[in-house]
Every structure is written in structure tokens, then in C-alpha cells.
């Protein structure tokens, strides 16, 4: 009897308490309101458009009027001869990026952090950020210039006496080129967030370590690394949550049928299939598949991270 009453009381009390919090924080809520409204209108409401993944979308009939076809597009995609290859290429490209270009900004940040404040440090930082602003089209253009059959790299190879390499027509070169140019472009910009985390380290810790006779490497290992661990883990989880998404612009610029076997990914395949006749439904279905896989991976990564460290996204 008593429990029942306190339970009821409990719910009423909880409501009362929530109302009180809302009232107390009303200005904060007002602050957040535009953002919430924005996300609601532009991200949540359009989600109903995802339904065209299950329909045969016809522009003149609109979303509601188009015919329902269920899982047809998914079946069509999974039964493609190339489905396995596309999945493999997408995953591999992302995993290589993760393994090689994820640590790069961390290392760069640790190294820059060790340099004394001054013009040298500032100019190194600024120069390292610059490639981030260069358009991907220009980056690929630069790569072309260096790597074409009569480009600098091949000329250098020839002068040493090695045979020239046709970098853009050999499947084996695609992944390294893609990852390396990605590192070059994103390394500097990515290091900013780690440098910010590092700048928050208490200088007393360094003094204490110095007094205890720690070498520079030991300082990095026992002070710097642990202090950026939460940032690193968070960003790692977020990146895993994008494992199946791969923007196709750079690949489109770099690939050709001769290297489809390593370069053809889900998004480029769908792009080719889409130009045939504006197959919005097909593209949406594949996009939905991508998103679902990404969410699954994200949840898994987050759960693992929570077990292993205390850090997790939620």
C-alpha cells in the first residue's frame, strides 16, 4: 500500500521536478531551441523521404504517389555480381584510412607540442593546415602531374634506371595513393583538436616528471598520451561510424575501368548506375543500407569502448 502511494507520488514528483528544471533553465532551452528546430525540420522531417528506398520513385508522381516495391532495390543491389567486390573495396579503403591516417594527426600533434613556442612552431602549424583548404580536385590534379607517365616521379625512376610505373592504370597503386594523399591533406587540420587537448595539460605534471628524471619520451608516453586519450577514443568511434560511407568525388577523379577491381566502391557504382536514368530510389536504398551498417558499427564500437575504457560516446 505504502509503496503504491509513494510510486504514484514518485511519478507526480518526477513531473513536478522536471517542470521545475525546465523553468529554471528556460533561457538555456531558448538558446538551444533554434538548433533543435533546425535539426527537426531539416534532418528529421525529411527522413520520410527515405521511404523512396522502398518505392519506385517517379518525379512526376512525387514521393507519396510512387508505387511501393518493398525490398526490390535491396535485392537488386545484393544480387549484383559486384556486390562483394564493392563492399570489400569500400571497407578496405576505409580501414586502411583508419589504420594509417588516423594516427598521423595524433603523432603530428604530439611532435608539434614538443617544440618551443615561437615563429617556427607557428609557421609549421599554419603550413600544415593549408592542404586542408585545397579542393580535392586540385589535390588529384597535383597527383596527376607528379605521377603521369612523363611526370616527375617517373622521370626520377627512369634516371635511376628503374622502369616507369603507370600509377593510374594499376589496381595495386590505387589504395596507397588514395590514403597517402588523404593523409597529406587532413593531417594538419586534424592535429588541431589534439593540440587543443594537449594545451590543457597541467604544467605541474611536466615539472613533477622532470624532477623525477623522466626522459622526453617517457613524458610523452605517461603524460601527453593519457591526456588526449578521451579525444582520440571519441574521434575513433566517430570514424568507425563512417566506415561504410565513402565520398565518391575523389575516387571518381582518380579511378578508371582499368582499376575497378580496387577502386570501384559502393558510391561510385551507384553513381554510375544513377546516371543511367536518375534512379533516385536505387541510390536511396543503397544509402539506407550504408547508414544501417554504419549505425551497427558505431553501436558496436561504442559498446566495446565503454567496456575497455571508461570513455564512450554515450
Amino acid at each position: 500500500m505504502i509503496e503504491a502511494r509513494t510510486n504514484q507520488q514518485g511519478i507526480k514528483y518526477k513531473l513536478y521536478r522536471t517542470g521545475k528544471y525546465l523553468a529554471r533553465d528556460r533561457y538555456l532551452l531558448l538558446f538551444a531551441l533554434p538548433g533543435i528546430v533546425y535539426f527537426f525540420i531539416f534532418c528529421y522531417v525529411p527522413m520520410y523521404g527515405v521511404t523512396i528506398a522502398f518505392k519506385d520513385f517517379n518525379a512526376s508522381k512525387g514521393v507519396m504517389g510512387s508505387e511501393w516495391v518493398g525490398l526490390k532495390w535491396f535485392a537488386s543491389f545484393f544480387s549484383s555480381v559486384y556486390f562483394g567486390r564493392l563492399l570489400r573495396n569500400t571497407l578496405l579503403l576505409n580501414i586502411y584510412s583508419l589504420v594509417f591516417s588516423f594516427p598521423a594527426p595524433v603523432i603530428l600533434a604530439l611532435v608539434i607540442n614538443e617544440v618551443r613556442e615561437g615563429t617556427f612552431k607557428k609557421s609549421v602549424q599554419t603550413i600544415s593546415y593549408l592542404p586542408h583548404f585545397v579542393s580535392v580536385v586540385v589535390v588529384v590534379g597535383i597527383m596527376r602531374l607528379f605521377l603521369q607517365s612523363d611526370g616527375l616521379v617517373n622521370q626520377a625512376l627512369e634516371s635511376i634506371g628503374l622502369t616507369t610505373v603507370n600509377f593510374f592504370s594499376e589496381p595495386g597503386w590505387f589504395r596507397p595513393l588514395y590514403v597517402i594523399s588523404g593523409i597529406w591533406q587532413s593531417c594538419g587540420w586534424g592535429s588541431i583538436i589534439y593540440l587543443a587537448a594537449l594545451s590543457g595539460v597541467n604544467p605541474e605534471l611536466y615539472d613533477a616528471a622532470y624532477v623525477d628524471g623522466a626522459s622526453r619520451w617517457q613524458r610523452v608516453r605517461y603524460i601527453n598520451l593519457p591526456s588526449i586519450k578521451p579525444t582520440v577514443v571519441t574521434l575513433l568511434i566517430l570514424n568507425i561510424g563512417r566506415l561504410l560511407t565513402l565520398g565518391h568525388e575523389k575516387i571518381l577523379l582518380m579511378y578508371s575501368p582499368a582499376i575497378y577491381e580496387t577502386a570501384d566502391v559502393i558510391s561510385t557504382y551507384v553513381y554510375r548506375r544513377g546516371i543511367e536514368d536518375a534512379r533516385f530510389s536505387f541510390g536511396t536504398a543503397v544509402g539506407l543500407f550504408n547508414s544501417l551498417c554504419n549505425v551497427a558499427l558505431l553501436l558496436a564500437a561504442n559498446a566495446i569502448s565503454r567496456r575497455v575504457n571508461e570513455t564512450s560516446l554515450w
Partner: protein, 516 residues
């Protein structure tokens, strides 16, 4: 107030009837009353002057027709998207509009979007005349029940926009070579270009042949009896469609291109080359043979000159002849769907007459294609239009197309320039060379569009098939796949549901030529 309005309305209606009943020959003006027609098309490709600015050409047209235009011109790249949405709603539609590509004739009639033009053909005598000259246009304009729902236009410019090999004549002269005719000639010429240093700089930096896109090299198929630009499927003598890329003729073509590639006679980076790269390489004065349309030869002369050539002379030549000495190639598709009239328009006769005048009549279409008489074109003694100096050597430095567009002509709804326009644009040597290659040009196969189910099969089966075909062909050319595996490739293609694809295209072909 109400009564005056009623009286005015009756008078207007009567006068409209009067002018309309005299329309047997679609004489201008369409109306002497103030009528406004809402017109929606993609906006001017020459972005600086929007059609909404009331450009000279359209002022003339308004004067001649007596109909005021209310423009709904949308930025070209967004036109289709925006128009699709408006069509889906089908309220408040413009009177006349350009039809987006994804909307089929079936949609236009079944969803009540477009006016059925059969009932208004008496107001469109010029269009009827063009349809009689080119019967395929009528078929293309019809829905599945044979009703005409949109206007299709035929452009004669196809015979000037011919894509053929373009060669450095000055290099041929320097090396004492004839213009190549047979496949062996082409091989020898390319070899000479690469080995004998025709640009005279002492270095073997010449690239024999360089094309904008890797499939352009398929031009050599003419040496084996098939016309260039033949497409994925073509009909044999019995009207059965055959897949091009497993044919023996094509295998020989790939073998030849592979030979050129291995001997470094063509661009070694051809898999990723684009038009910009070709043009910048042309500027180094090292390319001997390309493949493009007329007018480009002059452009390439300019590039070569900037690379140090003294008197570069690019000319268009015929592709290689086959064993019987014949050669042929297809032109671009000369037909294009242009405009439709809204089913809910309040002024159907006016709209029909207006479309007929603007797109199909001699006077109207000349203005829309050539511009304003006295400014961008003049009529010669035979009444034929020629571009003026203002258009060809525009004082503001605009190229011909932009100059003409800046006053409102050459709208995005026109496919190609008319033949005379193109010839007017081209300089002497190009026109002369055009005469040598024109006889070998053939009309392409113009087919009715695919139905929705057919379209699905094409994209379903086609995507994988084309991925495999493109990949294997490139590998054969590069040599990473030996040509001895050709039969395996053919077998794989046949097992990739090629028969389904062929059936779809066969149905389309039969439907066009009325064989069901």
C-alpha cells in the same frame, strides 16, 4: 463595375475568336489584344543575360506575335528538379514549358499535364510540315495511344557536328607523308610522328594520338567494316540487334589499340585523360592525332601555336577505310523534345500558335536560332542567313555562341545549331574539309524512348554488364589481360544476362519501326 467587366470579357473573347479563326496559316500577329503567355524554360546558358531581362530577340518576337511573355526562366542546372516538382503538383503550371528528361510522354498525357496537340494541329501548320519531312518526330512525340503530347524538333546541324580524327597536316607535310587512309597508313603515320620528331625540337616527346575520352579510340572500328560511334547495340540485316563489344570486328579494333598502346603510339595515361588534359597537352605542341568535332581544329591550332608551332594546321580527316575502301560514321542525334503546352492553360489556341511560330516557322525559328537581323545575322541575296561580324568577332570578346546567346537566341531547348549556322561559324579550311568527310556521315538510329519497365531492366542488368565490359576492354588495351582470354570474356558477358538486355533493346527497336 461588374457589368463593364462582363462586357469587356465578351468583347475580348469575341476578338480572340476572330483572330483565332483566321489562323489557317498561322499568320502573325496571333492577337491584337493584350494576352500574356507564361513561358518556363531553363535560363540562358550565357548567364550574364537572363531571359527575364527582356532580351532583344524576345522583344522582336513579342512585337511580331503580339503576345507578351511572362518569363519563368530557371537556372539551367536546376531546371529539371524544379520543373519535376511543379509537374508533380500540376497546379499553376506555365502555359508553355520545356519538358524535363525524366518525364515521359506517357506521364504527360496520363497525368493530365500536357495538352493533347492532335486537337490543335490546325493551329500548328509549320510543325506539321516539319513532322511530314521527318516522320520519326511524330512517333517520338506520341504517347502509347498515339496522341501527340509534346513538340519534337529536328536540327540539321548534325551534318556539321561530325566527330572524326583530326590530324596535324603540317607534320604530315614536313615528314613527306600522305593523309592516312587505311589502318596501316594510320599506324605508319603515328609511328613516324613518334620517331621522327616532327615538332623539330630534338626530343622524342611527341604523343601520336590523344583523345578526350578513352572510348574515342573505338574510331578504328571503321577499318573492320562497322561505322564509328555505332553504340552498344546495332541492327544486322534482319533487324536483329547485336551486341557490339563481343563482335569479331570489335576484337580486332581492341587488338589494334592494344598494339598502339604497347608501342607507345597513343597517350599512355589514356584511362584518366580528360578534355582539359588534352587541351593543355596540345599547348605543348606534341600531339599529332586527335578525335573531335569541326571548329576544334582551329582551337587546337591556337593551342599548338602557343606551344611553339610555327604554322600548325589541324584538319579533319576520314577515319580509316575498310578492305573495300569504304568508311562511315554516325552523326549526333538530331532530334530533341522541346516544348509542351499545359493541359490547364486558359489560352490553348494562342499557346499552340505561339509554339508553332517560335520553334517551327521560318521567321520565328530563325530569330530563336540566329538572333536579331542586322545585329547577329544578315540575310543574303537568296534569303539565307549568315552570321555578321558582330557575332563572329564580337567586340566584347565573346565567342560566337555566347554572343548570340547574349541577345536571347540559341535557347537551351535547341539541340544543335542548324547546318548553316555551324558552317557560318567555321572558317574556310574547316568548311572545305567538312565537304570531304560529310559524304561518309550517316543518320544515327533514332529510337522511341524506353518504357519504364524496360528502363529498369537496362539499369539493372546494364550497370553490371557495362562495368565488366569497360573493365575488361581497358585491361585488354593496356595488356594487363592478354588478348588470348577474349573468348573467356565473351562467354562471361553472354552469361551476364546479355540476352535480357538485348531483348529490351530489340523491343524498343521493333516498336519504333512498327514490327509488332
Amino acid at each position: 463595375m461588374k457589368r463593364t467587366a462582363l462586357v469587356l470579357a465578351i468583347i475580348m473573347a469575341l476578338s480572340l475568336l476572330a483572330t483565332v479563326s483566321l489562323a489557317a496559316e498561322n499568320t502573325m500577329p496571333i492577337s491584337t489584344d493584350k494576352i500574356t503567355l507564361v513561358f518556363a524554360i531553363p535560363d540562358n546558358f550565357y548567364a550574364a543575360n537572363s531571359y527575364a531581362d527582356n532580351l532583344p530577340v524576345w522583344q522582336e518576337i513579342e512585337k511580331k506575335t503580339g503576345v507578351t511573355i511572362e518569363w519563368q526562366a530557371v537556372e539551367p542546372s536546376q531546371y529539371d528538379t524544379i520543373m519535376n516538382i511543379r509537374i508533380a503538383a500540376n497546379t499553376d503550371m506555365p502555359d508553355v514549358f520545356a519538358v524535363p528528361g525524366s518525364v515521359t510522354n506517357e506521364d504527360l498525357s496520363k497525368q493530365g499535364i500536357a495538352l493533347i496537340l492532335d486537337d490543335y494541329m490546325e493551329y500548328m501548320p509549320n510543325m506539321m510540315k516539319m513532322y511530314q519531312e521527318h516522320p520519326i518526330l511524330e512517333k517520338l512525340s506520341q504517347d502509347s495511344e498515339g496522341r501527340i503530347v509534346a513538340a519534337y524538333i529536328y536540327s540539321t546541324g548534325q551534318y556539321a557536328n561530325l566527330r572524326v580524327p583530326i590530324i596535324r597536316k603540317d607534320w604530315l607535310d614536313k615528314l613527306g607523308l600522305e593523309v592516312p587512309s587505311t589502318l596501316d597508313d594510320f599506324y605508319n603515320v603515328l609511328k613516324a610522328f613518334v620517331e621522327r620528331d616532327p615538332n623539330g625540337n630534338g626530343m622524342h616527346d611527341e604523343i601520336g594520338m590523344m583523345c578526350n575520352s578513352w572510348k574515342d579510340y573505338y574510331v578504328f572500328i571503321t577499318a573492320f567494316g562497322l561505322p564509328s560511334r555505332i553504340g552498344e547495340f546495332f541492327p544486322d540485316e534482319n533487324g536483329n540487334l547485336v551486341y557490339t563489344y563481343t563482335r569479331e570486328e570489335f576484337r580486332k579494333t581492341v587488338e589494334f589499340i592494344n598494339k598502339l598502346y604497347t608501342e607507345r603510339l597513343i597517350d599512355p595515361d589514356f584511362v584518366t585523360t580528360t578534355r582539359d588534359i588534352v587541351e593543355s597537352t596540345m599547348s605543348k605542341n606534341i600531339v599529332g592525332l586527335g578525335w573531335q568535332a569541326p571548329g576544334v581544329d582551329i582551337r587546337w591550332d591556337g593551342f599548338a601555336k602557343s606551344g611553339g608551332a610555327e604554322n600548325p594546321n589541324h584538319i579533319q580527316i576520314n577515319p580509316p577505310v575498310d578492305v573495300h575502301g569504304n568508311v562511315s560514321f554516325f552523326t549526333d542525334n538530331p532530334t530533341r523534345r522541346t516544348l509542351a503546352i499545359s493541359a490547364n492553360t486558359k489560352i490553348p489556341e494562342v499557346a499552340a500558335r505561339w509554339v508553332d511560330y517560335v520553334q517551327f516557322s521560318e521567321e520565328g525559328s530563325t530569330m530563336v536560332q540566329w538572333g536579331v537581323e542586322g545585329i547577329s545575322y544578315e540575310l543574303d541575296s537568296e534569303g539565307k542567313p549568315h552570321l555578321t561580324d558582330w557575332a563572329l568577332n564580337n567586340p566584347d570578346g565573346l565567342d560566337v555562341n555566347s554572343a548570340v546567346r547574349s541577345i536571347g537566341a540559341f535557347t537551351p531547348t535547341l539541340p544543335l545549331e542548324p547546318l548553316e549556322f555551324m558552317e557560318s561559324k567555321l572558317s574556310g579550311k574547316t568548311v572545305d574539309n567538312l565537304k570531304i568527310i560529310q559524304p561518309n556521315a550517316q543518320d544515327p538510329l533514332i529510337l522511341l524512348p524506353l518504357t519504364a519497365t524496360e528502363q529498369e531492366t537496362v539499369s539493372d542488368v546494364g550497370a553490371d554488364l557495362r562495368t565488366y565490359a569497360d573493365e575488361m576492354i581497358q585491361k585488354f588495351i593496356i595488356g594487363s589481360e592478354p588478348l588470348s582470354n577474349w573468348d573467356k570474356y565473351v562467354e562471361t558477358i553472354n552469361n551476364m544476362r546479355l540476352d535480357e538486355l538485348q531483348a529490351v533493346y530489340q523491343a524498343q527497336y521493333d516498336r519504333t519501326f512498327g514490327k509488332n
